[in-house]
Symmetry: C2
Subunit: 426 residues, 2 copies
Amino acid sequence: MRTNLPLDADRLWADVMALADITDPARPYTRRSFTALFLEGRAWLAQRFAEAGLTNGVDAAGNLIGRIEGNNPALGVIAIGSHSDTVPSGGRFDGMAGVATGLEIVRALHDSGTGLEHTIEIIDFLAEEPSEYGLSCVGSRGMTGSLDEKMLALTEPAGEMLRDALRRVGGDPDRLNRAKRDDIRAFLELHIEQGIVLESRALDVGVVTSIVGIRRIEIVFQGEADHAGTTPMNLRHDALIAAADMVVSVRRIAEELAAEGPDYFVATVGILTVDPSASNIVPGRCRLVIDARTTDPALTARFVDTIDRESAAHAAGARVTRASFQTLSDVPPVACDSNLRAALRQGAHDLGLGEMDLPSGAGHDAAFMSRICPSAMVFVPCRKGKSHAPEEWADREAIAAGAAVIYQAVKALDQSLPRNQTQGAA
Amino acid sequence: MRTNLPLDADRLWADVMALADITDPARPYTRRSFTALFLEGRAWLAQRFAEAGLTNGVDAAGNLIGRIEGNNPALGVIAIGSHSDTVPSGGRFDGMAGVATGLEIVRALHDSGTGLEHTIEIIDFLAEEPSEYGLSCVGSRGMTGSLDEKMLALTEPAGEMLRDALRRVGGDPDRLNRAKRDDIRAFLELHIEQGIVLESRALDVGVVTSIVGIRRIEIVFQGEADHAGTTPMNLRHDALIAAADMVVSVRRIAEELAAEGPDYFVATVGILTVDPSASNIVPGRCRLVIDARTTDPALTARFVDTIDRESAAHAAGARVTRASFQTLSDVPPVACDSNLRAALRQGAHDLGLGEMDLPSGAGHDAAFMSRICPSAMVFVPCRKGKSHAPEEWADREAIAAGAAVIYQAVKALDQSLPRNQTQGAA
């Protein structure tokens, strides 16, 4: 790895660590979207943006955007970003490393006296992680015209609608069209790999080829909340029996599809709630959220057909009803822009960094951004592939190397991006 | 059914309905032990006790006790009671009907100018329903010397210890011996049946023969909270896989034991929590609480042996560890006192009410009270056997009939109870 990078690794690292400190102290590192802590983190970010000479504000989709005008603003925008929210008990790098990268690139450009033709924006997308409203990538959906009325009507457990939550964090759900952009010419995102490929090969950066599609499905089984002492086994309508059978089914089907190869397939039941959840009451209602990911949409279609059939059978077997079987979200797999990928590879080469192409098993805001502009991603290695957990870790030098690759690519793209094109699509 | 009862059915009914109104409005009928609502309900009860001429206070075990001295206090106490806490989304009758019965009996005795030899106490036992601390019958355990240090050290999800919660509701965990009683000569409890036997036979009251034993077991599976997108199926340590397999096991084993007959056996997984509970994180930790009930302790022993073996196998199969397999509580089955049962049967006969003997599939404070004094119970019919649910229902006349049976028995026992005995055991 080259250590003489064109930006300040310590300054970048300090930002990541400082935002990590804005966490639920009882459950590090937790900064859930739409919470007071999340807004505290954003206030901190907005101050850093201002110090770096960026104007900033929140768009109608709730994204915090820092902006510095280019010498030729008519050329449009090169955007760099990721997200500052976390999963519950998440890590310090997932999301924040990409936002801090944008900030450090702007400062490094300034320090080196480099003025760009294009306007630069740093975007902190709203709620990239699955929010309490059952939806992820809220901000990048909004910026790309993919946040619809049905999604805005989703509610969190206490009953607040996403529409109202969006307003609460500075967005404007009634004027979402104002968030939709046609002036962005390139979007670049740095993210920790969340896998073990780069670490195992001792490489500095990964240039992402494609991002998996993600389908989220909700199943609700409705039984009867009977007394656990006085209701004989043969008279029960126990929703948890159907839910447990469903967990077993999802695991079996996912293992079968993953074993087929060569395409990637994983599926997870990450949420299973039991209502009323008391030891002496037969479960009356259970809700499961299933997350299925693949690089081949045909595998998702087969998966959904099978769980549809088996969940109906499990409901019948447990004498309960399947009150809901619905798709909460469906993001198809996307390929990253070949022109941007070439610029990133060239940047790594110029810096003497080891790089490789690799797919992303995780969803990212870049997948939505590819709907409105050429988009690409840089992965940096993280320890043992761990993420979405407090032990998530990426080295200071690893983040700086990935950021430097984007820095190089931004400077090159500022000159090489097509200049007469109104809008690009990946 | 006789309608000319020796007490005021409307006054009794009004108390039950009034306490039902003290509920979480978003989730009727919920008045969870140790909450502000629970204390509001108790303040209301204490005021009713005072109006009926009872002195009242909270003992070291957190039980609210109303008391009216007898003409011959040396004879000891006849106690009547049940509990005012509910399960989440419970009903209006489970517990409260028994407390209101005691109150109405004292008022009816006063109205008829009947003075008793024995002191009468009305007891609202603390936390009969499983509390957030993983323990039920907290108050009756305390009154009978069955609440130990290990139980007091149990914590609810936010981390509060039962010991501190007990202090918060007026108890004194450091002086629990003060709550232990040796002066109670008889304990009588009215409760809704929570089953369909009385309704299906169109009988007025059931005289309980025995109360099932209840064993509660906690199992915790510990895996790894990996990213749901980047962790291949064959590298997962998914705690929910083991938990789902366990739910399936519990159901199968319970059905087998129930089918053996003639003894009663049921088992339920009523609580299953997933941590961290996000759709894009592989479950890292799952906790199950299993409730097993029977009239034959040998069946429980066989059940526990089998789930012990199978849970270890499920943990290994899912590549997770079984971090906990422990008994949270273990209450053996108990027979009700034959002398008290005879008095109750005679009371029903005197009033012209239809009665039968029947076992209780639910646990009750009376099971603990039988450790320190002769105890017995009266069941009244409830609609379709439903309880622990908002639709739980018992008719005004049904509750009044059951209360009248206890009224008759109290008057008879006041004369017939052995007078030279220091303490009775069921």
